[in-house]
Point group: C2
Chain length 347, copies 2
C-alpha cells in the first residue's frame, strides 16, 4: 500500500542553486506540507551569506524563517542545518558541469532530485560519469534522479505512459507548441524574440540556446516505447516574424526572430519512427502538447493549452522528492521509478 506523505514527518530539503527555478523551488518547499526547507546553497558571492529571504527576492508565497541563510557550499549548509533528507538541485543543464555537485550531495549521504536536463538520461550523455555516480549512490545507499517537465515529463514520460495500453509501437510523434507571447520576458529572451535571424542561427549552432533536452526526451521515448532508433538528427531554426508582433521588449518587426523551432528526427533504416518538435514563438495559434502514437491501438493525446514550463517544472521536481527518497539506491531514470504523481500540497 502507498504511504501518504502526511503520515510521515516532513522531509528536510536543502535547495542547491537559487536561480529563477531554484528560488521558485525554495518558495514552493517553504509552502509544502510534507517538506521542510533546512538549507540553501548558492555559489554566487552576491547571494552566499545573505538571509534566504533577501536572496529569494520579492516573489509571492511563504517567507523563509530569518535563521535561514544562503550557504556558499553544501558542507556549510549541512553544518548549519544539522542534517537533511534530500537535496533539490537546480543549477545547470550540463551533466559534466554539475557532476561534482551531485557527487558532493551523494557523498554526504543525501538523495538528489535534480533539474539538470542531461541528468534525465545520464547514461546516454556520459556513461563513464554516470557509472561513477551510480556506483557512489549505491555505496551511499541513496537514489539520484534528473527530472522536470521537459525533459522528464511532457515530451517523454507522459507519452510513454499514454502508450502503456498499446502494443507494437511503430512510431511516436510528439510536439510542444508554446505561444511565447503569453510568457514572461525572460522566456521570450530565451527563445530569441527580437533577435536578428543570423544571430539566432549562430547561437542555435553553438548549442545551449533555446530548449535543452530534446535528445534526452527522444532517448527516453525510444527506450520506454522499445523503438529501435539507429540514427538521430537534430535541426533547429529561428521562427521569423511575417508581420509586426508585440513582445515584452516592444514590437518585433517582420524579418526579425519571433521564436524558435527545434526538432529531432529518430530514424531506423533511414525511415523516421520518432519525431519531436518544440515551437516556442510569438504568434503561434494555440499552445498545446500533443503525442501521436502509431501502435495497436493507436493513441492521440492532447494537452489543451499546453503545460506551462515553470510552474510544471517546480511541481514535477517537488512531486519527485518522496519517490526518490523511497527509491532503491542508484542513479535512476523516470523509467525505473514508481508512478509519478502529485504528492505535493501546500499548507
Amino acid at each position: 500500500m502507498t504511504k501518504r506523505p502526511r503520515d510521515i514527518r516532513p522531509l528536510r530539503v536543502v535547495q542547491y542553486g537559487l536561480g529563477m527555478i531554484g528560488a521558485a523551488c525554495a518558495r514552493a518547499v517553504l509552502e509544502s506540507r510534507g517538506l521542510r526547507l533546512v538549507g540553501a546553497v548558492d555559489v554566487d558571492p552576491a547571494k552566499a551569506g545573505r538571509p534566504l529571504g533577501e536572496a529569494l527576492g520579492s516573489g509571492s508565497g511563504a517567507r523563509p524563517p530569518r535563521s535561514l541563510r544562503v550557504s556558499p557550499s553544501l558542507a556549510a549548509a549541512l553544518a548549519r542545518s544539522g542534517g537533511a533528507d534530500v537535496v533539490l538541485h537546480t543549477t545547470q543543464s550540463s551533466f559534466a558541469k554539475i557532476f561534482p555537485q551531485v557527487m558532493e550531495c551523494v557523498r554526504a549521504g543525501l538523495p538528489v532530485v535534480s533539474s539538470t536536463e542531461e541528468l534525465a538520461l545520464p547514461f546516454a550523455t556520459d556513461a563513464t560519469l554516470a557509472r561513477r555516480l551510480d556506483a557512489l549512490a549505491r555505496k551511499k545507499k541513496v537514489a539520484v534522479l534528473g527530472t522536470g517537465v521537459n525533459p522528464g515529463f511532457v515530451m517523454d514520460i507522459l507519452p510513454i505512459v499514454a502508450s502503456a495500453a498499446s502494443r507494437n509501437v511503430r512510431g511516436v510523434r510528439i510536439e510542444r507548441v508554446l505561444d511565447a507571447g503569453t510568457r514572461r520576458a525572460s522566456f521570450q529572451r530565451k527563445v530569441g524574440v527580437g533577435m536578428a535571424p543570423a544571430e539566432a542561427r549562430r547561437r542555435l549552432a553553438a548549442g545551449g540556446f533555446g530548449h535543452i533536452g530534446l535528445k534526452e526526451s527522444a532517448l527516453l521515448v525510444a527506450t520506454g516505447c522499445d523503438l529501435q532508433v539507429d540514427e538521430i538528427r537534430e535541426e533547429s531554426h529561428p521562427v521569423i516574424a511575417t508581420r509586426t508582433i508585440s513582445s515584452a521588449f516592444g514590437p518585433v518587426r517582420k524579418g526579425q526572430v519571433a521564436g524558435l523551432h527545434q526538432s529531432l528526427s529518430g530514424r531506423r533504416g533511414g525511415r523516421e519512427i520518432l519525431r519531436l518538435d518544440v515551437v516556442m514563438a510569438l504568434g503561434v495559434k494555440e499552445s498545446h502538447d500533443a503525442a501521436t502514437i502509431d501502435a495497436d491501438p493507436p493513441v492521440t493525446m492532447l494537452l489543451v493549452g499546453g503545460l506551462p514550463g515553470d510552474t510544471a517544472t517546480i511541481a514535477a521536481l517537488l512531486n519527485a522528492i518522496p519517490r526518490v527518497v523511497a527509491a532503491p539506491p542508484g542513479l535512476h531514470t523516470a523509467l525505473d521509478l514508481p508512478l509519478p504523481r502529485p504528492s505535493n500540497r501546500t499548507r
Copy 2:
C-alpha cells in the same frame, strides 16, 4: 538501468480463463516476442481437455502449438507444462469470486497479472481478503496486480500521471465517452442496446451490468492525487434513444435503450471534488477520453477518438507482465509499481 525484455529469455505464461478477453490474451501471448504460452486453464467443461487451437476459435493471429490443450485446473496446466513464470488471469470481475483462483496461483509460486476489476484496488474492496492474499504473496515471494484499461489505466492511472507535474490537486473530472455504434455486437448487448428502459434500470440497480470498476478508478485517483474524498455516490441510468438508430441487432426505436451513462461523484464536505462519467451508447457524437485536473498548473488531457476497450485491455495486461514479474513480492496497485509502458511487441 532498464532491462529490455528481448535481452532475457521469454517469460512462460499460463493463461487462466478463456472467455472473450482471455482467448484474445492467449492469442496475443502466442504472437509476443518476449512471452511464451505454456498452458491454458478454463473450468468450462466445454473447453477443458480440448486442444487450445479449438478453444480459441477462429480468431485471427498465431495458432497455438498442437500440444497445448486446455487444462481444467491450474495444477493440471502446470503438470503438463513443466513450469511457468507468470499467470495471466482473466475470469471474473469480483475479487471474492476470483480470490481462490489467485491464491492457487500464488501458492504455486507464480506472480499474477489479473483483469479482475475489483483487484485494481483490492484493499478497498475487501481488506481482509486483500491482507490474506498480500501475506501469501510475500511469503511465496511473488507479486500480484489487477490491471487493464478500465479500471487500471484510462480513467485512473493515466490521469494521475497527467497531474504529476502539478501541485495542489483540488479536483479531478474524468470522462470516457464511447460510441457503441462503432463497437461489436457483444459490446452493444453489454450496454443494453435495444432493451426496455425499465429492464436496464433494474439491471443497473442489481449491479454487475454495464461498466464495472468506476469505484476502483475513483479510489485510485483519490489516492494517487491525494484527494480527501469523504463520500462517494454512484448513479447510473440508461441513455434513451430520441430517434431510430441502427444497431448490431437492427433498428433501436425512439424510447428504447441506446446505451448507458454511469457516473460517480466523490465529495468532501458535500462539495464534489472528483467526478467520473462513462457514456457508452449509440449516437454519441465523438468517442473520447478526457481528464480535467484543477491544480497548479491545471491540466486538460484529451485522448482523441478514445481508447478502444478490448485491444487496449489486452495490451495493458501483456505490458504489465514484465513489471509484475520483476516487482517486489506482495499484492500491488499500479500506484506502487514502476512506470507502465509498452513492453510488448509481436514477433
